[in-house]
């Protein structure tokens, strides 16, 4: 597992000991980073988008609101005009009887369902007022609005006035009889019902506020619930807002996107505040974000699983290959790996299997080589340069042969002879190799062994003589073991000579034989032939005897062997020092 945090700097290198861990870390890390960035950006964009949309909706709402107020005013004007054209009404106003005028106004008011109706002179003196909030003879509070309309050349005025502390939307039309002789004002109260109606149309919260005497905003109509209602005026006072631009205000802990728009009024400023709850508007975006988070979490889990699986697809074959490599190192080749993947790892496994097969074959070849030539020579061949030619050195050559082999083979089948021969050769070869010698070659039933090449020892001659003695004993034992009943024992003759010869690779470039060449070899072979002649099991030369003095010798003769000019003295080996072993 990694030793440090996954996102490391170059100065803080992470060491992964597990490919799985590395893959998972990078895979998941990248996924998390990308997803988190995406989530953040999407979230930010959503919020911005939502705010823009709410702002646009509020602007539309403000437009609707103003149009609604205008439409109500137009309705009022039409009603007021119709009322003012009533002849009896004109008559009643002309008569000037205040009480009659008031009752007429009340009648008219109930006809159209208005909340107030009043009559004023052309000089803006109140004549009669159904609301009873203005004393007859007092000046009209909204005369300035009427004057402004006249200057603009308009036939009627609408404005919002506060009478008896309550807000009214009023229209003022002239009483034409037939020229204007008075002003008629008709009004509807503004309150929560109006706010509720606007809310139904615009789907925003609506509040109407007036600026009080102290300069603070006072709400007189609202659709906000009680908790937020109280927070509205302080929020407006505390925040910086501009008319007809949306801002976000906190009301009792919940953010509201707010648009403030002014109404046409007289002396007292009145504003309408349209609001939408930000959390409510963001709810669908929040749901989307929750879904995205869920997807993110699911993605993390799935990525982890996928990463784990993919990593295993890599690590398992790799570990299998590593395990087999260890086995191969230990020498057991076993069965080829079964890896079913078709990808690069599959190809790696296939190549590995073929490599192991090649190694196995080479191993076999080497083993075989060792069997064919002798492990020492095999090693010499494998490690040294294979070149024709050799080096001159002093070697002790031992020749061994089975006596009367031809007679033996007469009475046996070739198969029997082969089995016999192999058994014999195995027996005597072991002796040679035990004593540090090397079997050079087998010549039919004979054997040539080397002492002193490729590896030389100071007591090579002694080894050779010892080998010969042990060979005789071994064959005797072999005879007994092989056929205790049959008296026909196999007897061997051995010849040993020590001299200088050339040891090396003989042959052609493609087929060679490690052997020794020289006069010494010939002599050893001749000595072996003389063993039968003189009836001695082991015949050695003077040279050998001089180098292996610890054995018992009996001088046999002085001979001149075939192919050699000089005479040599030959000796029979009597055995090892100690109790003399009777020669057979």
């Amino acid at each position: 597992m990694p030793a440090a945090a996954p996102h490391a700097t170059t100065a803080d290198r992470v060491r992964f000991t597990s490919f799985q861990a590395r893959l998972l870390t990078w895979f998941l890390g990248l996924f998390v980073v990308v997803q988190a960035a995406g989530l953040y950006l999407v979230g930010a964009a959503q919020e911005r988008n939502a705010l823009n949309q709410i702002g646009a909706a509020l602007e539309v709402g403000a437009g609707v609101f103003h149009r609604l107020i205008d439409a109500r005013a137009e309705r009022l004007v039409e009603a007021a005009r119709l009322q003012s054209a009533d002849f009896a009404f004109k008559q009643a106003c002309a008569i000037g009887d205040r009480a009659t005028i008031l009752s007429v106004l009340q009648n008219q008011q109930s006809r159209i369902g208005a909340d107030l109706m009043l009559l004023a002179d052309l000089d803006y003196t109140v004549v009669a007022d159904t609301l009873d909030s203005l004393a007859p003879g007092s000046p009209l509070p909204f005369s300035a609005a009427i004057e402004d309309a006249l200057e603009r050349g308009e036939e009627w005025t609408t404005t919002i006035v506060f009478l008896a502390g309550r807000p009214y939307q009023i229209v003022v039309v002239p009483l034409l009889a037939p020229l204007p002789t008075a002003w008629i004002a008709v009004g509807f109260r503004l309150g929560d019902p109006l706010a509720a109606e606007i809310r139904r149309l615009t789907l925003t919260h609506v509040s109407l506020l007036r600026r009080g005497d102290a300069g603070a905003w006072e709400p007189f109509a609202t659709t906000l619930p009680a908790v937020r209602r109280a927070a509205l005026a302080p929020a407006l006072a505390g925040a910086a807002w501009a008319p007809d631009r949306s801002v976000t205000l906190p009301l009792a802990g919940e953010g509201f996107v707010t648009l403030v728009t002014s109404l046409e009024t007289g002396a007292i400023p009145v504003v309408a505040v349209l609001q939408r709850s930000l959390p409510e508007a963001l709810a669908p975006y929040r749901r989307l974000r929750a879904v995205l988070l869920g997807l993110f979490a699911g993605g993390v889990v799935l990525s982890a699983i996928a990463g784990h699986r993919i990593a295993r697809l890599v690590t398992r074959p790799v570990l299998q290959i590593a395990a087999r490599a260890r086995r191969v190192e230990a020498g057991e080749y076993g069965e080829p790996l079964q890896i079913r993947q078709q990808d690069e790892l599959g190809r790696l496994a296939t190549s590995f299997n073929r490599m192991v097969q090649g190694l196995a074959e080479r191993d076999k070849v080497r083993g075989l080589l060792g069997k064919v030539v002798s492990p020492a020579i095999a090693h010499e061949l494998l490690t040294g340069e294979i070149a024709l030619g050799g080096e001159e050195r002093e070697v002790t050559v031992l020749f061994a042969d089975i006596r009367d082999f031809t007679t033996l083979s007469e009475r046996r089948s070739p198969q029997e002879i082969l089995v016999l021969l192999n058994s014999y050769l195995t027996c005597v070869t072991a002796v040679v190799e035990t004593n540090g010698g090397v079997v050079d070659k087998y010549i039919g039933d004979g054997m040539m062994a080397l002492f002193g090449a490729p590896l030389s020892h100071p007591d090579d001659a002694s080894r050779a003589v010892r080998t010969a003695v042990q060979m005789i004993a071994a064959v005797r034992a072999w005879n007994r073991e092989r056929d205790p009943l049959h008296p026909e024992a196999i007897r061997i003759g051995i010849g040993i000579h020590t001299g200088r010869a050339v040891a090396g690779n003989m042959g052609s470039a493609t087929r060679l034989n490690y052997t020794v060449i020289g006069d010494a070899v010939n002599l050893a072979s001749r000595l072996e032939g003389l063993s039968k002649t003189y009836g001695a099991a082991i015949v050695v030369s003077m040279a050998t005897r001089e180098r292996a003095p610890e054995f018992g010798y009996r001088e046999i003769d002085r001979v001149r062997v075939r192919g050699r000019e000089a005479e040599v003295t030959i000796f029979e080996v009597l055995g090892e020092p100690g109790p003399a072993s009777p020669a057979e």
């Binding site: 002849f87 034409l176 009889a177 037939p178």
Partner: protein, 214 residues
């Protein structure tokens, strides 16, 4: 010879204008100097005037308009309001000088309406909002109305100093009409300037283009 031709020219001019003694031409203009039609010019003397017969006056209703739109009568005149349209009209006035109504009628009402108080009587029709008529009821027997060129001719003037006043329905200051003093020996043409408001035409019903539902 030259003296003679000068007198001759004066006589010629006098005969051309035909302003006899006791006559006065009043030229009424608005504040911009344009001639003002339908202005009422009165001449008031200090001496009381003998009562005389008040000839009956008429204000017609033709094609849903009062004709003439501006009239002047002496206090005590009975005015007839014949309806020459084939539809009925409901003539009324709530002016303090005379409040009356002639409920929907055709032809000529039986009795004329007596205007026995001075002042401006604004006439309207209850069922036709654009019908407007102005009837000036004045004390003095000497009055006239300006024509399209803003000229009015006062005749039968007494040989005494008079106050000449000009009234107009659209006068900006109706309670203070422009006045000037005039005596018989003064020039026979007089100019008075009356500041007036702009005229506002009331649209007649049934003649405007259809308005789509708004």
């Amino acid at each position: 010879m030259r003296c003679l031709s000068g007198w001759g020219i004066a006589l010629l001019l006098a005969s051309l204008t035909r302003v006899a003694a006791g006559e006065l031409v009043v030229q009424v203009r608005d504040a911009r100097g344009r001639p003002l039609a339908n202005a009422v010019v009165t001449a008031t003397g200090s001496a009381s005037v003998a009562e005389g017969e008040r000839p009956a006056a008429t204000i017609d209703q033709i094609d849903q308009e009062f004709v003439p739109q501006v009239s002047v009568v002496r206090v005590g005149t009975a005015v007839r309001f014949p309806n020459q349209d084939n539809i009925r009209h409901h003539v009324y006035s709530f002016s303090p000088a005379k409040q009356f109504e002639l409920p929907l009628y055709k032809g000529t009402p039986a009795a004329p309406v007596l205007f026995d108080r001075p002042g401006l009587v604004v006439l309207g029709c209850n069922i036709h909002d654009w019908m407007l008529g102005y009837l000036y009821v004045v004390q003095t027997p000497w009055f006239a109305r300006t024509d399209a060129e803003g000229r009015a001719l006062l005749t039968g003037l007494p040989d005494a100093p008079l106050e000449i006043a000009a009234l107009h329905p659209r006068a900006k200051f109706p309670e203070a009409p422009p006045r000037t003093r005039w005596s018989p020996g003064d020039a026979t043409t007089l100019t008075l300037e009356v500041p007036v408001r702009a005229e506002v035409q009331r649209p007649r019903a049934g003649r405007s283009a259809a308005r789509d539902y708004r």
